[in-house]
């Protein structure tokens, strides 16, 4: 992967390329931004540009290919061992840094999910981050940079990555999956600008079942107790898809809220359900919709706390049908 092959992030590429060209590469970077938008690709491209025999990350020379296969002796990648990066990992890696680079002009160290470092690990890294021995480049990657110690953040040059615009994600979805624009729109709108999220969505659920789920949901009324209980049953049945279903509900009521606020249809997630959204918004107002959205937020908290799913769904649906 060269810089040019990475989608978007034009400015970040410029920053790194310029730093490379001017010999002003910092010794420690923090690539911060949501998951699945290309931070790691960028770090690998940077690594290639440094080791490359032609000094441009050509992708063909031996050094570049070693980076691609992650078997370059001067590339060190630190990942969480289990849930966290532990102090032993940091110490082992610091011993490596004491050695001179073998093939490349400098050693390169990538720390993935840097925010998972334990407090001990993070503190042990501080001195290295401030004044690394020899000529080392450290790249920390994080989607939750606010969870890093301030002292860690403070020692890195920050490089924030932005979410991808919806249109870019939508275009890629259509190109790679061959789906229609109404469908790619739904996936892109719920992707938070992340390719990983957009491509990772269960398409059967988000594209096919979504319509049925919403049809059942909006068909409920406060009088229809039995269908409500049945639906709760159905929702509670599968623990793994439940969060996605709740997201679908949230997106729907959000669309209703936006419609009540007089936003244009182009801002809707469920573009294909315009009529239903308008129909529902005719019988709701801002405060009733906010209450329903609140109920959805609340039920997520409850599920995180492992409350009885069936019960939680029943209560939720009664609130949504009110």
């Amino acid at each position: 992967m060269t810089f040019d092959q990475i989608l978007g992030h034009k400015r970040q590429k410029e920053i790194l390329n310029r730093a490379l060209a001017n010999g002003r590469l910092a010794h420690a970077y923090l690539f911060a931004g949501p998951d699945g938008i290309g931070k790691r690709l960028m770090a690998m491209a940077l690594a290639r540009a440094i080791v490359c025999e032609e000094q441009r990350g050509c992708g063909n020379c031996l050094a570049c290919r070693k980076i691609d296969h992650q078997n370059h002796p001067d590339l060190h990648i630190l990942e969480p061992d289990g849930k966290a990066i532990k102090i032993e990992q940091i110490r082992a890696f610091q011993r490596e840094l004491n050695l001179k680079p073998l093939e490349a002009p400098r050693k390169i160290c990538m720390i993935e999910q840097a925010d998972t470092m334990t407090v001990g690990a993070a503190n042990a890294l501080l001195k290295t981050l401030e004044e690394p021995r020899g000529d080392t480049l450290l790249v920390l990657l994080s989607s939750q940079p606010n969870r890093l110690l301030e002292t860690i953040r403070s020692r890195c040059q920050p490089l924030p990555f932005n979410r991808h615009p919806k249109s870019r994600i939508q275009a890629e979805l259509e190109k790679q999956l061959g789906i229609a624009s109404e469908e790619s729109h739904v996936l892109a709108a719920l992707s938070e600008g992340s390719f990983k999220k957009a491509f990772g969505k269960d398409r059967d659920l988000y594209l096919e079942q979504r319509r049925d789920l919403l049809k059942t949901l909006t068909g409920l009324s406060s009088g229809s107790i039995l269908p409500t209980l049945d639906f709760a049953d159905q929702l509670a049945a599968d623990k793994t898809v439940l969060p996605d279903i709740l997201e679908i509900f949230q997106a729907f009521y959000r669309d209703v809220l936006m419609t009540l606020q007089g936003r244009g249809d182009e801002e809707l997630v469920n573009l294909d359900l315009k009529e239903k959204i308008h129909r529902v918004s005719a019988r709701e107002d801002v405060s009733t919709i906010l209450a329903k959205l609140e109920a959805l937020v609340e039920v997520r908290h409850q599920l995180d706390r492992n409350v009885n799913r069936q019960l939680a769904m029943e209560v939720l649906l009664l609130k949504l049908a009110a």
């Binding site: 310029r18 001990g120 042990a124 401030e130 991808h164 709740l246």
Partner: protein, 575 residues
């Protein structure tokens, strides 16, 4: 290829370079001049404010080949070694990597030997809070009986994690966050020396990123240079820092204060389109509202907010528009949003909901106003139901004579603000019936009649607002797009209705159904249902509403997610 970042290149080398820590450098310099030097120092303070630098400067001062001096020469071999972080008699230990008791034991072995060639053997332990309890205990023994030739300098960002026994044996120095202006002026010196072209405005934006830390600010400056080279333009700085445009923030603040949820959502849309981090936007928004709170309660907020000039003026002007209660509620809600965003599965929605809620918050009234409002309500309720305004003919004629309870005003000086001679509302007969219901051929009569033959239709009419009754035209208003108005417009139903009305009034009647906007509803006359409900529970409802609007109660709801089960009126004497 190795490039030294600015923070390392421009590390302070002398006490006078320690910007913003004059209280520390003066005390240390005095101690050195007087020769009365403590054997253990503890440097505490936030990241990047100069603790490690101060430790090295102190070490140089103690060991300079030119003699003990508060102005170490910086060129002797001792000074240059320390600057490079590799002094023979200055041992820098990373507390975080050498946390164990063995590490400290090794240290204590080392302490017993005399310095190689300098005056003192100096141990600098950075991140000292990371030592284990056992390690601290081992260290304590040394600190209790330190050899003459040993000096200790501990540095930490977290002094509360250090045992009191250790604390009590150290001379402690608290390093402060560096004021924005000082960071900016130091950065100006550095930029000039580095031959950068950068505006004061950009420099101050960059300085602010440091939040009081020189290292953070300089690291941001590195970032700026890496991107734009030595000619830095303002716009690049703004975009580079992922900063939310101030205009956009101001716009959002205004929208919230003016209860304009559409405009607030426009702002979210722009943030989304720009790909900016939603948390960052929320944080900036929160800071702006917090700034407004400070403007309200602090005489001279400039220093506290680290703001000057235009920005301060804008913030003050905005603060003028809002009440303190409102601002505090907004800050509370935004703080909640901020935490929710961290784990939100749908951050855009979280922000949208939050802004809609902020922009639809009912304005608070202060407590005094609220109480007088309740009192005047009770006064009115104590006499009679409110007059029904919708039928001009039925409106009770205002009584021009003052009420007996009214204080006799001096005749030549009538109250200038009220055209009404009496400060109290005109009195009405206590048993005054609802005006419309008494009229034989009125709206209520029609609805009653319709109800007898078509109960559903009657109840639909009951929910309508009578806008006009001037035969042969009747106009009834319903909430725009409501289910009921669409019912009435069904051809079958409207036909039935026409027959019934014609029958009732004994002449052909045109009944028109009009849409009433939600915003206009409060201006439109109430429906019969609303009238009835109002009559029954007017007092309770108003009391409840007022109670629900109370800022303290709102905060309780916001914070604890409480639910109001019941509002119980208390006796007037209580308030």
């Amino acid at each position: 290829m190795a490039y030294l970042v600015l923070a390392r290149k421009w590390r302070p080398q002398n006490f006078t370079d320690l910007i913003g820590q004059e209280h520390v450098s003066q005390t240390l310099a005095n101690a050195i001049r007087s020769g009365r030097i403590h054997h253990a120092f503890l440097f505490t303070g936030a990241r990047g404010v100069g603790k490690t630098s101060a430790a090295r400067i102190l070490a140089k001062a103690l060991n300079c080949d030119e003699g003990l001096s508060d102005q170490p020469c910086g060129i002797c071999s001792s000074c240059t070694e320390i600057t490079a972080g590799q002094g023979l008699d200055v041992i820098e230990v990373d507390g975080a990597s050498n946390t164990g008791v063995d590490d400290v034991r090794e240290l204590r072995e080392n302490i017993r030997y005399l310095p190689n060639r300098s005056r003192y053997k100096i141990f600098i332990i950075d991140e000292v809070h990371m030592l284990s309890t056992n390690a601290f205990n081992a260290l304590l023994k040394t600190l209790e009986e330190p050899p003459e030739h040993a000096k200790f300098i501990f540095a930490t960002t977290e002094p509360h994690k250090i045992p009191v026994t250790i604390l009590s044996r150290c001379q402690r120095f608290d390093f402060r966050k560096i004021p924005l202006a000082r960071v900016a002026s130091r950065m100006r010196e550095i930029s000039d020396a580095e031959q950068l072209t950068i505006s004061d405005r950009s420099l101050s934006l960059v300085a602010r990123q440091g939040e009081g830390s020189m290292r953070d600010a300089l690291s941001t400056l590195d970032q700026v240079i890496a991107f734009s080279g030595e000619q830095v333009d303002d716009e690049a700085v703004q975009t580079l820092l992922g900063m939310v445009d101030r205009r956009l923030l101001l716009d959002t603040v205004e929208a919230v204060l003016q209860r304009d949820s559409r405009r607030a959502l426009d702002a979210v849309r722009r943030v989304d389109q720009l790909g900016l981090a939603l948390r960052r936007f929320t944080q900036d928004l929160l800071e702006m509202f917090r700034g407004m709170v400070i403007c309200k309660v602090v005489e001279d907020p400039a220093e506290m907010l680290d703001l000057v000039g235009e920005e301060l003026k804008e913030l003050k002007a905005l603060a003028e528009e809002a009440s303190l209660d409102d601002l505090q509620r907004i800050v509370t809600l935004l703080m909640k949003t901020q935490t929710e965003l961290v784990n939100s599965s749908f951050p855009l929605l979280t922000l949208e909901m939050s802004l809609v809620r902020l922009a639809t918050l009912a304005p608070t009234q202060d407590l005094a106003k609220l109480i007088s409002h309740i009192e005047s309500l009770e006064k009115r309720l104590g006499s009679t139901p409110l007059p029904k305004p919708q039928h001009p003919a039925q409106r009770p004629t205002p009584n021009p004579t003052p009420t007996p309870t009214a204080r006799p005003a001096p005749a030549p000086a009538p109250a200038p603000t009220t055209p009404n001679p009496s400060p109290d509302p005109p009195p009405k007969k206590p048993e005054a019936p609802v005006a419309t219901s008494t009229e034989s051929k009125g709206w209520q009569g029609l609805v009653d009649q319709v109800k007898q033959s078509r109960p559903m239709l009657g109840s639909v009419l009951e929910h309508g607002r009578l806008l006009k009754l001037e035969l042969p035209v009747i106009e009834v208003g319903y909430t725009k797009g409501s289910f009921m108005s669409s019912q009435l417009q069904e051809p079958d139903i409207s036909q039935d209705l026409e027959v019934l009305t014609t029958e009732y009034f004994g002449q052909p009647v045109k009944l028109r159904v009009l849409a009433v906007d939600i915003e206009q509803q409060s201006a439109a006359p109430p429906s019969l249902v609303e009238e009835r409900e109002a009559k029954e529970t007017d007092r309770m409802r108003r009391l409840r509403e007022d109670a629900m609007e109370h800022p303290a109660l709102k905060s309780v709801q916001d914070i604890f997610k409480g639910e109001i089960k019941k509002v119980i009126p208390i006796d007037k004497g209580f308030v």
